[in-house]
């Protein structure tokens, strides 16, 4: 299970593995957040299970419910070379720590003229599909992509999660690492131990020539499913898994769309001012003449995440909508 990509793993265990390896490799790495230590069962879903037992409860620390204090402590320690991996359990709870993330972590390098910097990683979970309702499943990544000084990473599979998380921990800048909870137990390619995946590089998940489907996290799987279906009609969709959404991998995106001349961007965040707007704008700016149709953007409905199952299912953009959007670019 530890080498080769034929073996399978899950996002949940890949995250655990990356943290374990980072803690083992570098004594400056510390992990903290609510319930992360083994005395608290290593996280509500077990993402940090075993880590405090193996690396010590001084390095893997459970905290009170105090997100400002969590991120503040991470920032302060990082200023003098500690490498904190701080957990904000759910992305919605970044709302109580935005000052620390946006006014401090993102800005201290610049405001200090480079005298200090903030090499922290902030892990968080989110994602609709588990019936958690309006305050536990938001995708807010566009806020952070809009914030200079932050990097934003969002893996879709175990191998990427492992390699990207190690890169975030290595990185000299503050990185947000977003884990899609409904993907936690989905089997996928196992990580290659120790192998980093560079921040800022997208992955072509499926090559194609007729249209480019640009996505990240859970929606990559929907895009792939649609691509497979369309392939039977002879439409070959290229699927790009962005992996990092700040900085965006313009080179890969633009090269692909320059070839296919059609693009659809899909994410779970709502469309208005979402990351899709940025991507679509960049494509239009660079490939206006080449494009055969305007870039299509798909996002969740413009409302809070609903609880009721049929609403929750309809809320997230699905294969049907992706297929329809592709057809719009082809017509």
């Amino acid at each position: 299970m530890t080498t080769g990509t034929a073996a399978t793993s899950t996002l949940l265990s890949a995250v655990n593995q990356a943290l374990d390896d980072a803690l083992a490799a570098n004594p400056d790495v510390v992990v903290f957040g609510e319930d992360v230590a083994d005395s608290e069962e290593g996280g509500v879903l077990g993402a940090t299970k075993g880590l405090s037992s193996r690396h010590g409860s001084h390095r893997v620390r459970s905290t009170p419910i105090s997100e400002q204090a969590i991120i503040g402590a991470a920032i302060g320690a990082s200023l003098v070379g500690i490498r904190p991996v701080a957990e904000i359990m759910l992305m919605n709870f970044t709302t109580v720590a935005m000052d620390m993330i946006v006014n401090h972590a993102a800005k201290l390098r610049f405001m200090s003229g480079g005298k200090t910097h903030v090499p922290i990683t902030i892990r968080m979970m989110t994602g609709a599909g588990l019936g958690t309702g309006g305050q536990h499943a938001d995708f807010l990544e566009a806020w952070f992509v809009h914030t200079a000084g932050l990097k934003v990473v969002i893996p879709s599979n175990p191998s990427d999660a492992y390699g990207l998380l190690l890169s975030c921990i290595d990185d000299e800048d503050p990185c947000l690492f977003i884990e899609n909870m409904p993907l936690y137990w989905t089997p996928g390619p196992a990580p290659v131990r120790g192998q980093r995946i560079p921040i800022g590089k997208a992955r072509i998940a499926r090559p194609g020539k007729d249209v480019t489907l640009i996505s990240y996290s859970r929606q990559v799987f929907d895009a792939l499913a649609v691509a497979d279906k369309l392939s039977k009609e002879g439409i070959e969709a290229e699927v790009i898994d962005l992996r990092t959404i700040s900085p965006l991998d313009d080179a890969t995106l633009l090269e692909s769309v320059a070839r296919t001349r059609r693009a659809v961007v899909i994410h779970e965040a709502t469309r208005q001012c979402g990351v899709g707007a940025e991507i679509a704008s960049r494509i239009h700016e660079n490939l206006h003449r080449e494009l055969r149709a305007p870039v299509q953007r798909l996002g969740s409905a413009f409302c809070p995440v609903p609880f009721s199952k049929p609403l929750e299912t309809a809320f997230v953009p699905g294969a049907q909508q992706i297929e329809a959007a592709v057809r719009r670019t082809l017509s």
Partner: protein, 329 residues
């Protein structure tokens, strides 16, 4: 508090029992139904904490407000939300209190004064202040209760809300349901003071530490705090000691607590103890209580059936209630 504490009389204690039993039986059924797979949702059982809202709510009317949290079904039922509205909401049906759009963590029922249920730790308190402010501005005698957990006393919103309530002498009562755990974290691992009630001093506010599972003590403490708020004498912080029987989230393995700790709490089930007390005090017969319990069971049967028979909301609901009028970007 200097005022001598009186005991609840028979009708009051019976009413506390009725509400606590409704909560208990309702919770037993919820868990059974979830376990059966008939309904799927994250569920934060309040089993074991029944007495706190039951003994508090008998001091309140529909005109009084509460703000509660994801672990709040007991608070809602005690405040008068009907099992039908609740079950339908938890089943995600359009007949639910919030058309199925809110779900278990976000029940609202203004007719019963249930104004906000929040899933964000600490957020019930600042909003409760606003409801209290509205009553104060209008010269109304309404009181607002903010329920929250022990873990929530460590987050910033707690501090800001208590400071403001004290400064503005708001008619609000902050009731901390201290069940000794925040998710998997023991009280003392997250909280740097032995008693949360003692944090009231930081805001020049009365702080009461009380056994929340004892209906006499809880009734008395809540009653005095509510009376003080109604009289315009400002807020109170009550720390009500209790225990959750089913861990943080239903399905929780409880590996972070000792088996004995849990067993001993369950052995002192507050609803069972209250039943015994009613009989010991000669306030009710076993038969009368059994009758009451059967009645509640039937009400829950009907609520479950009502929920399952109700339709899901139309997909158009995704566009409704976002703004006063439909706006789609």
């Amino acid at each position: 508090m200097n005022q001598a504490r009186s005991l609840p009389d028979a009708p009051v204690l019976l009413e506390i029992y009725r509400r606590a039993t409704l909560i208990k039986q309702n919770d037993d059924r919820f868990r059974a139904v979830i376990q059966s797979g008939k309904l799927v949702m994250p569920y934060y059982s309040p089993r074991g904490q029944e007495i706190i809202p039951a003994a508090t709510s008998v001091h309140l009317s529909d005109d009084d407000y509460i703000c509660t949290i994801y672990r709040g079904v007991h608070d809602m039922l005690a405040k008068g939300v009907t099992p039908r509205a609740l079950w339908a909401e938890l089943a995600g049906r359009v007949t639910g209190s919030c058309k199925g759009k809110g779900g278990p963590m976000h029940i609202t029922d203004p007719a019963r004064g249930v104004m906000v249920t929040t899933g964000i730790v600490g957020s019930s308190m600042p909003i409760a202040n606003g409801l209290a402010l509205a009553a104060q501005l209008r010269g109304e005698k309404r009181v607002t209760i903010a329920y929250f957990g022990d873990g929530a006393s460590n987050i910033g919103a707690f501090h800001e809300a208590l400071n403001l309530a004290s400064l503005w002498k708001l008619p609000v009562v902050f009731i901390c349901q201290n069940n000794r755990f925040a998710e998997h974290t023991r009280y003392e691992s997250g909280t740097s003071i032995g008693r949360i009630a003692d944090r009231a001093a930081a805001y020049s506010m009365p702080g009461e530490h009380v056994d929340g599972n004892d209906p006499d003590a809880m009734w008395s403490a809540a009653g005095q705090a509510i009376a003080r708020a109604r009289a315009g004498d400002g807020p109170t912080l009550i720390e009500a000691m209790t225990f959750r029987f089913h861990g943080h989230i239903f399905g929780d393995a409880d590996g972070y607590m000792s088996k004995e700790e849990k067993a001993s709490a369950i052995a002192r089930d507050p609803v069972v103890l209250l039943r015994r007390r009613l009989i010991e005090r000669g306030m009710a017969t076993d038969a009368a209580l059994a009758e009451l319990e059967r009645g509640i069971e039937l009400e829950i049967d009907a609520a479950l059936q009502f929920a399952l028979d109700s339709p899901y909301p139309d997909l158009a609901e995704l566009r409704r209630d976002v703004y006063a009028t439909e706006i789609q970007p």
